[in-house]
Symmetry: C2
Subunit: 474 residues, 2 copies
Amino acid sequence: MERKALSDDVLHRLKAAAGTGGWKDDEKEIAPYLVEWREKYRGATPLVLMPANVAAAAEIVRICAETHTAIVPQGGNTGLVGGQIPSADGSQILLSLSRLNRIRAVDPRANTMTLEAGVILAEAQAAANDAERLFPLGLAAEGSATIGGLVSTNAGGTGVLAYGNTRELVLGLEAVLPDGRVWNGLSGLRKDNTGYDLKQLFIGAEGTLGVVTAATVKLFARPHAVETAMVAFGDVEAAVSLLNFAQGHAGTITAFELIPRLGIEFVTKHIPGTRDPFDRAHPWLALLDVSLKRADEATATQLLLADAASAGLVLDAVAAQSLAQREALWKLRDALSESQKPEGASIKHDVSVPISSIPRFIDEASRAVVAAVPGARPVPFGHIGDGNVHFNVSQPVGADKELFLARTGEINRIVHDIVHALGGSISAEHGLGQAKIDEIVRYKDAVALDLMRTVKRALDPLNIMNPGKLIRLP
Amino acid sequence: MERKALSDDVLHRLKAAAGTGGWKDDEKEIAPYLVEWREKYRGATPLVLMPANVAAAAEIVRICAETHTAIVPQGGNTGLVGGQIPSADGSQILLSLSRLNRIRAVDPRANTMTLEAGVILAEAQAAANDAERLFPLGLAAEGSATIGGLVSTNAGGTGVLAYGNTRELVLGLEAVLPDGRVWNGLSGLRKDNTGYDLKQLFIGAEGTLGVVTAATVKLFARPHAVETAMVAFGDVEAAVSLLNFAQGHAGTITAFELIPRLGIEFVTKHIPGTRDPFDRAHPWLALLDVSLKRADEATATQLLLADAASAGLVLDAVAAQSLAQREALWKLRDALSESQKPEGASIKHDVSVPISSIPRFIDEASRAVVAAVPGARPVPFGHIGDGNVHFNVSQPVGADKELFLARTGEINRIVHDIVHALGGSISAEHGLGQAKIDEIVRYKDAVALDLMRTVKRALDPLNIMNPGKLIRLP
């Protein structure tokens, strides 16, 4: 599609629609919106628009449709695949939802909450907590990430195992369509079979089909307590067995994180104040959170560990007896990425496979990577309860960092080919954005890609919604 | 769109594609496919096609696309809104998925199962049970309803409160698109953010966007036991309070069914062997199922009832102490519809509202109906844990049955207007089909209807997929 340059007239009309305090065009003020926090993606724009209400957002999109102006929606700018960063040619305007940040309603009896796109996740969690409810979406960037971005990327995070991805937490949506009309699909209903479930189009669409302006989300009963345990295994197969066993046990398993021997060694070597909780160097560990609804369930984790030991499912186990012990165990998991840095360069993959295929995936990918780069050190870890493995590969000891990183494409290909052969996904939770828009074409069914293009063309015939992200039109 | 008559040539080609044993054109043999079991919807067709594999189904759809022949997909023919019944003019062919009935895979370690569209729900449940897992979808028609129909109607049923609607149970789909291509979206992944979630287009679309041929669904740990209790309240507000309280308690609340005084009176009067479990005639009752994962949780229900009584949430409560007692309590709930028949005509509504609005909905709708038809007897009951009320209205005592039923449209309008004003849905779980395709236009946002038409036109530009169901094209 022919893209008109952003004329002064268009910019003027957009500023008027955004209103006083609703736009920025000073290069210095705009700069933070144009770079992703790891500085992997950089873009340019003459104008950042920050509408304060849905009507202003809709008017902005309407003007963009009329003038064929491309729009890049942005929330907290925490995305990892460049979906929120405009192109480098300055032809796209950036639409920040940051001022659309009201909590419109909290209904603890219905267990729902309606939030505007710009509400920060931590604030949403706090609002739920104030109403004595749990909003279970949680992730490292929760102090900056916003509801609109979380919905648009179908964010995963730490609550997926028990509560689902963001998609499963959304009951209703409000969005500005690519022609500037507002679709009001906000709803607190648990059951509604009156036609196509339109909200699903916008969840995980990375802003390519419209602009999410608000969402009604599910709330849950708060757990009485969360208990934490670390368990040790001889192989990954045993970890999957324990996961299956634990899910049939009392309490709710709300985290199940795999940690390899090498990961524990990196952490205890490089992160002050950490130590392996076991006397023996077990090949694999897993960190478990068990959420309990009542005080009298407080023996659930002990019982689980005892039963698992009786069934021969674990080599060893420790349960945290205090908040400090709990934090010490979680520190071992949370420091895994950081502890890889002193070991040199690392090539990372955010992939998923069916849970039953995790042992085979880790085994095959580890062998293949080491065969390609002798001495390379795989550190596969993460949310295996969701089938999601962060397959990070540290460079060989003493190798040249740049030479190792130069092989990133090759290593990605090796790992992704194995993921694909096992029916997995090359982007479990981060999305496609700019990062994987071409890589996905190698793996995704051609019919699926064509269906995606059909949907994109139908909803956004002018291709003004975040073009160059998620799906390429020929 | 111009619809060509079904020529002998087209019928001949379709029969050849379906293969030996893959079609029926004898009027008598076809008859059962053409009428809905309550005989509310009747259609006609010259040909029922029953492909035995996906390739044959795809070839049939391809021929239909080429010849602009309309297709009505049908599963177990248990739908309640006429979605599975062809038009009366004989211009549509019927595509039965009944022979596509293989269980392709059961993976208990991944907690997934892949089923073809024609697998009967009871068989799917049994296959899960054989693998020591739970497939929680359950409903009255489970002995006939098939996976394809359940997915295409996003079926609700008895497991929704704890496990979600069918939509939440589907991880992946395979479907024949309206042009005859096969989209393979089968996947056992819990996390996959590689583009639009295409399966959502087909779930609940009532066959208007393509033909579902297989699904990969979630399995769960089987509960150790399910306990049942009946509780009594002074008003519906108290029932909602108990629901909230119980969801924060130990165990998993897997059913929460409201029963009004009049319902209990109808059941105990007309259904032999039933009795009110309480000595006093309480205004409202609720039936609870509590699923327990371990034997040592067996006190959960007793504790819940004791705590609820201490908190002043219930007037009285009984817990079933045996399977016979459990069945006796459930009989009171299950016989509600049947017990209304001896009381004369009944006008029914399958609606949902936000859970917090259930008391207000029942109050307002009951008053409005009685104001319109003095002496009319509302019997609101059902899955209030899902916000889903079966708002049935029995005729006044001694009134003329036909005269009462003649006011169905008027009563529907009164009830649906109140549902709509409270942000509810006029079809909580049964869908639109033929039954509500026009009624929904009164209530659904015009932008939403237009979006639905946009999606329909994009995926099925020839309008051959179940035309006249769910959404009308101008």
